[in-house]
Symmetry: C2
Subunit: 452 residues, 2 copies
């Protein structure tokens, strides 16, 4: 059924076209004819194809096959894949524990500062509360970003920065702007699982490079880009997700040189920047926003509800990206959201909030490391900051099976292979240390691991 | 230069490919060889192509040609097209007057109610202020939408509704979900200009149907869909933008029957719904969310800054659209924004605000009608509500020229052809009556019109 649906979706079978005969399809797919007949009958029942007695099966005229990112129709029926973690984490009941999710618990976030900022913005009886605002987004927040960039040694003009709704939307806009169907994109293995989901929506080819504790493996990087000629390389440098690794200066320089030689544009997603104890090397800083595009957001450190992302890039690209954001979203992000964020960032409390967060996270990483050790679960490396531990499970344990079993106990986990294009992380698991405060999780994991 | 850039963008010329010879291109484009040499030299200068002496010109390996929605690089250099109005309206200095824009002035919006709602939400110390929230968006706001739909006679289940960042993003998600490159989409002529900009980003073919005072012309509708077999028809039924026309029951029924016969999915953008004195026929209500998808937002009546759009459609489509929104935006719209909107909608003040707005707009339409009449500018019809008047200019006046001249006086207008795929609205102009309170506009228009 999926094979036929995909051919229709890709327009290689058009409305009115005759389907392969049952015998032919059974032969080519190594299935029994009865299985193919069954699939065809179900496709008839759902209206995708029509049977013409004595003639065969035809693509229904009524069919309009949508872009199917997922094979299963409902989250419940799905295998564990990049969407599984997202939807389980976002949509689970409040009682569900989420060590697999990618954000901090509400009481770790600066709720009081956000509340103060919201009330302050609510008092400004100007267009900020009602108007669309500037097409590049709030000038106040863009100025703050420019001064942050300048601290990092990136000199950017105001015309090189734009705000977006979210960090993910920033990445999506750039992909729409720079990619065409069939282009190739390079990602890290492992990498943030939603990069894969996003690039699937762009219908591009994916290739990956092994991510080591000091960045992408440089010789593999060179081999892959020479062979596959990707248009883009998407990575996060500071506190790499899921490994927590830190890019070394040597690897950063090497990657940038190779990317330059092979005309690969790099998108550096800097979403965990503020969680580092001190800044690590950045591709955007080495390159100066020439072939590197910097993206980021405030979702991890401030709020994922009052959302705002940003892009810093060459001016002519920003110009095109602004047009694209108008066409597809009408205007930039919420002026109110940008104003609230700018208010918190300048309130003086932000630096303190981040210091406190880094301290709490350092304790939580250390504490959880010990608790996991007791279960035979071992972090592959000790991250300098952030909230992830990327761990190996006791010998032979399949992370996806463990995640399925844990879900039955009301616990959402993030199994290794959702992060891995090559699917070589079946024995690994990403844990969010801030979402592991509840000791019931240890008991459930111990139960599942010992009952095997 | 644009021809070569477009061929590269469409990948019909690849990096390393040889360009047509100067002589050949000059011949096929009916240009002098000197012009082609000049264009090639400029392309060499910008790095798009390379000259190899004695051999010719080649596409540079460094070239990565972005999706160009606009030919000119900067808004200032642009001709008047769908983006011109958007960017001028969004980015003009505060002193600029905007009768061409598509929103109400801040003091027409419910600022006090929004401020109260923001302060109320700021007091809730829960995850609403910090978390990503449910992947379909706030359950509170979705329940409110369901009861509105039910009042209109549309029975939808909670699984058939999702929230989005904006109404435009709702449309964009659906287009990504249902369209492929090269598909054909039907729009009204005239229609909201950003539909054209959005569909350009989707690289689809556009066809249009003449919009009359009672909806799309039914016989033209039938002819166009039989001939071009569009996948989608995008329209707004209530208070059609820019004409202010109202769909009649007969046309609604006819359009729906024809669309059903030809398997055309309809997107009904209901953004001006609350501005009608009483509800007019809706395709979604007749059809019951089978082949019609309803979209909308709160940007026009409540706030374009605290933004939220929505989609109501078949459940299986919503399921796929939620995946696509996760992949491209990570999660739904801001929970805080949805909560503030829900608060205003249920506060009791909303109904009063809309009654007041409709009353003010009725007066403004009447008043402006007279003022325009004095300038020889005549509304083509008298809309039942809303803030647009779609007007003919005195004989022979070109709306784009008038718009350019007015811009020099700090006034942004919306000339007819930005709304018209067939470009047959050169003599028409859309006026936003709420943005015409300043009488200086009449004086400037009179000056320009008489000095011709």
């Amino acid at each position: 059924m999926n094979t036929i649906r995909e051919r229709i979706a890709q327009r290689s079978l058009l409305p009115g076209d005759r389907l392969p005969s049952v015998r032919a399809l059974a032969g080519s797919m190594k299935l029994s004819p009865a299985t193919v007949v069954d699939a065809y009958e179900r496709l008839v029942a759902e209206g995708t194809i029509q049977a013409r007695p004595g003639s065969g099966f035809y693509v229904s005229n009524a069919v309009l096959q949508p872009l199917t990112l997922m094979k299963a129709q409902t989250p419940e029926a799905r295998a564990i894949d990049p969407f599984w973690v997202s939807r389980q984490s976002l949509d689970a009941a409040e009682t569900v524990l989420r060590p697999g999710c990618g954000w901090l618990p509400p009481d770790w976030m600066p709720q009081a500062a956000l509340s103060r900022a919201m009330r302050a913005v609510a008092r400004t009886q100007t267009g900020i509360m009602t108007d669309y605002g500037n097409s590049r987004g709030s000038p106040t927040l863009r100025r703050l970003l420019l001064s942050r960039f300048s601290e990092e040694g990136i000199s950017a003009s105001p015309e090189q920065v734009m705000l977006t709704n979210t960090g993910t939307q920033a990445l999506d806009l750039i992909c729409r702007y720079l990619l065409r169907n069939g282009d190739t994109v390079l990602i890290d293995d492992p990498c943030y699982f939603n990069f894969q989901a996003l690039l699937k929506a762009h219908q591009v080819n994916l290739v990956s490079v092994r991510y080591t504790q000091s960045g992408p493996d440089p010789s593999e990087f060179e081999a892959v880009i020479s062979q596959h000629r990707p248009r883009l390389y998407i990575t996060n440098s500071a506190l790499h997700n899921p490994t927590g690794a830190t890019l070394s200066p040597q690897v950063a320089h090497r990657v940038l040189t190779l990317a330059s030689q092979h005309q690969v544009t790099i998108i550096e997603d800097d979403i965990f920047a503020d969680f580092e104890p001190e800044p690590s090397p950045r591709l955007a800083a080495l390159d100066g926003l020439n072939q590197v595009i910097r993206i980021g957001s405030f979702s991890k450190a401030l709020s994922a509800s009052i959302r705002c992302g940003f892009i810093a890039a060459r001016q002519e690209w920003i110009e095109g990206l602004v047009d694209l954001q108008i066409a597809t979203n009408f205007g930039g992000p919420s002026p109110v959201a940008a104003e609230i964020i700018a208010h918190v960032l300048t309130s003086g409390g932000y630096r303190k909030h981040m210091e406190e967060l880094r301290r709490k996270l350092a304790h939580a990483r250390q504490d959880l490391g010990k608790r996991l050790e007791a279960l035979g679960i071992r972090p592959l490396l000790r991250p300098r900051g952030g909230f992830y531990l990327w761990c190996s499970l006791p010998g032979g344990v399949d992370a996806a099976e463990l995640a399925q079993a844990a879900l039955a106990h009301g616990i959402v986990l993030a199994p290794g292979n959702v992060f891995s294009l090559s699917q070589n992380a079946a024995n690994l698991m990403r844990f969010n240390v801030a979402q592991m405060q509840d000791k019931r999780i240890d008991a459930v994991l111990a139960d599942i691991l010992t009952s095997r």
